[in-house]
């Protein structure tokens, strides 16, 4: 595999290009119209246009991407995450075209892509799932049948799309009289979003943690689980901060969690990288939730605490290499890592998207900091795609040091031209609940609700005073640049000194 096409854009395309560089593999980028000069295009060895701005006209076009791979003589295709990463037709189309798809077999994607089939697989492997329906409830299922199932599971109950993801087609139902309305709403949302209106029911656990286990599996029968990731810090079911290890997972629990993840993966003959998501209740019981059959956004926290390059191993597994990582390395975390997902969103406007041109960016650096960014100064954040611009990761020998370093990093991070979630992280990292790692999947939404839209960018009074001073000097300079400006001479003097230096 000497050339790989990356069927993605943004930071994950950059991340994959870097892994290819490390392996001395040539890279092909694909791009939509607005991404013509995007960073992944500039970095790749080759770049191929695949269509218009809507994903359906470019990054979701299986035909054009396979053609691009053939036209450039690429041997492998890495799907990244999102877009076609969990699309079994894409994986199959690559295979049919003689390309190595860097991910699981299409059959595994299809199997684990169905939430109910995945639950069945987990149960078959002896792993608990959140109590709920075991088969999809298609449009044929009657209201009475669904109500009986809900009664058996017990309220509050979750209504979820079988084909779901990202919180779509999901409803929390508190009592029986809300049920039929919620089912209708979930079906309609799921039908629109995934073309499949089948739903299933699940018990709603009380303020659980979201814990997940990364696995790698080669084509020689080896399945390797990794130390868990803590993903409970979510805003509206979207992860915003991830950590590894989890502050509350004991060595014993880790052993059981990772064994469960490995046995599910092994039982379905899974290959390449994947992640098992679990809910962990207050009593320390865990339940299989679903499997992601791809690389996760949060993979770097695992890399930082285990020293394993997951993207490099995805490629090595895809080209047939056996996994040679010592389980002691993958299961024993060294220190602690935290990732903040930096989005082009304005936290002070309810996290509205903030697309546009980044006029200047100063990424953080220094001890313990890794910035996996997809943009540089001058780059455009288009409105058409996910707003993630950078995965900012901090490592420390302890959770406390990792948090301290992340605080330092988000303080250094300065972006001009668009709004980002950096001010939100500055606030979040100082919250006692976060500091104490005393969170569950709902704590952040609760905390945000309590703020009632208060700005995250509240500077302390001395910074506000400095802003006033700077603004006045800025305005005086703007005035001074006109001939009649009184203050001109000092600015000119300054400029002269600069030149003389």
């Amino acid at each position: 595999m000497r050339k790989i096409l990356i069927a993605n854009r943004g930071e994950i395309a950059v991340r994959i290009i870097r892994a290819c560089r490390d392996l001395q593999i040539a890279t092909v980028a694909v791009y939509s119209d607005c991404d013509r000069a995007a960073r992944h295009v500039r970095m790749a060895d080759e770049a191929v246009a695949i269509g218009g701005n809507p994903p359906s006209d470019s990054y979701l076009r299986i035909d054009r991407i396979v053609d691009a791979a053939n036209a450039t003589g690429a041997h492998g295709v890495h799907p990244g995450y999102g877009f076609l990463a969990e699309n079994e037709e894409f994986a199959a189309a690559c295979r049919d075209a003689g390309l190595t798809f860097i991910g699981p077999r299409p059959e595994a994607i299809a199997l684990m892509g169905s939430k109910t089939a995945a639950r069945a697989a987990a149960m078959a492997a002896g792993v608990d799932v959140v109590p709920g329906t075991e088969t999809p409830l298609t449009a044929d299922a009657g209201e009475d049948e669904i109500a009986r199932i809900a009664d058996r599971i017990g309220y509050p109950v979750m209504v979820k799309a079988v084909a779901g993801g990202g919180g779509k087609g999901m409803r929390v139902v508190g009592s029986r009289d809300e049920l039929s309305g919620a089912v209708r709403a979930a079906r309609s949302e799921a039908g629109a979003a995934f073309g499949d209106s089948a739903i299933y029911l699940e018990r709603r656990l009380s303020r659980p943690r979201h814990i997940e286990v990364q696995v790698l599996a080669d084509h020689h029968g080896t399945v390797l689980p990794f130390v868990e990731r803590e993903c409970s810090i979510q805003r509206r079911h979207q992860k915003v901060v991830e950590e590894s290890p989890s502050a509350i997972v004991s060595v014993d629990l880790r052993t059981r969690l990772t064994a469960a993840a490995a046995s599910v993966a092994a039982s379905v003959g899974y290959t390449n990288a994947g992640t098992m998501e679990f809910l962990l209740d207050a009593a320390g019981r865990f339940y299989f939730l679903e499997m992601n059959t791809r690389l996760q956004v949060e993979h770097p926290v695992t890399e930082m605490v285990t020293g394993v390059d997951l993207v490099e191993w995805q490629i090595r597994i895809a080209r047939g290499e056996p996994l040679t990582i010592d389980p002691a390395q993958s299961l024993t975390p060294r220190g602690h890592a935290i990732e903040c997902r930096v989005y082009a969103e304005d936290p002070d406007s309810g996290f509205l998207p903030s697309p546009g041109r980044i006029t200047d960016v100063r990424p953080p650096s220094g001890p313990g900091i890794r910035d996996d960014s997809g943009v540089e100064a001058g780059d455009e954040v288009p409105v058409y795609y996910d707003a993630l611009i950078s995965k900012l990761v901090a490592w420390g020998s302890s959770r406390q040091q990792a948090v301290s370093r992340m605080r330092r990093a988000v303080a250094e991070y300065d972006v001009r031209g668009i709004r980002t979630t950096v001010p939100f992280f500055r606030w979040l990292l100082d919250q006692p609940v976060f500091r104490d790692a005393a969170f569950d999947t709902e704590f952040l939404d609760t905390l945000l609700q309590q703020r009632r839209g208060k700005s995250f960018s509240e500077p302390e009074s001395s910074l506000r005073e400095v802003a006033l001073i700077a603004a006045a000097l800025h305005a005086s300079r703007a005035t001074a640049s006109r001939p009649r400006g009184l203050a001109e001479s000092a600015w000119t003097q300054q400029a002269k000194r600069e030149i003389l230096q």
Binding site: D360, V383, Y385, L463, A472, H474, S476
Partner: protein, 197 residues
Amino acid sequence: MTFEIEQDGTRRRVTVRQAGDAWVVEIDGREVEVSVVERAGRWSMLVGPVDGPAKAGQDNPDVVSGFSRTSSYEVAFEPGAGGELIVHVNGVAVPVTIDQPGLSKPWAKAARQRRGRGAGDGATGDAPRTIVAPMPGRIVKVLVKPDEVVAARQPLVVVEAMKMENELRAPRAGIVAEVRVAEGASVEANTVLVVLR
């Protein structure tokens, strides 16, 4: 030179005068001395009392008007979407609106307009009466009807953009005068979606 600068609803008079290599800036009668050097669009600013930034060998590390003799800041600027100037101080974005008699910089003009727009609203304050799309996107849901009474921060419209559904909320309490979009419509940035009265 004197400017009126608005920050978070408060207007303050800031006077700037040159003093040798540096500047003396007066805010509400208190003076500080400021040294500014630009580096690729960023300013290194040292702020201290008017007798000059500390040179080693001087004693008296007193603090004048909130600044030590030697406080160091990194400052950068960008224009805000609403015509204001966003000042980045040590990476923290602080929006301000500058006004100067006789000065008609774009931000000053826009700020005047914004203030003017809110002026007639009485108790409802400065918040605008129109809800516009902050970015191009697709209208997923319209949550209100004309003549409906809405509270401040009540969700009005859900717009999908950047893979996310985004609620646009009422900037203030009021009554819906007009709904100008329908569910499923694609809108450009700055399209007026809802008008309050």
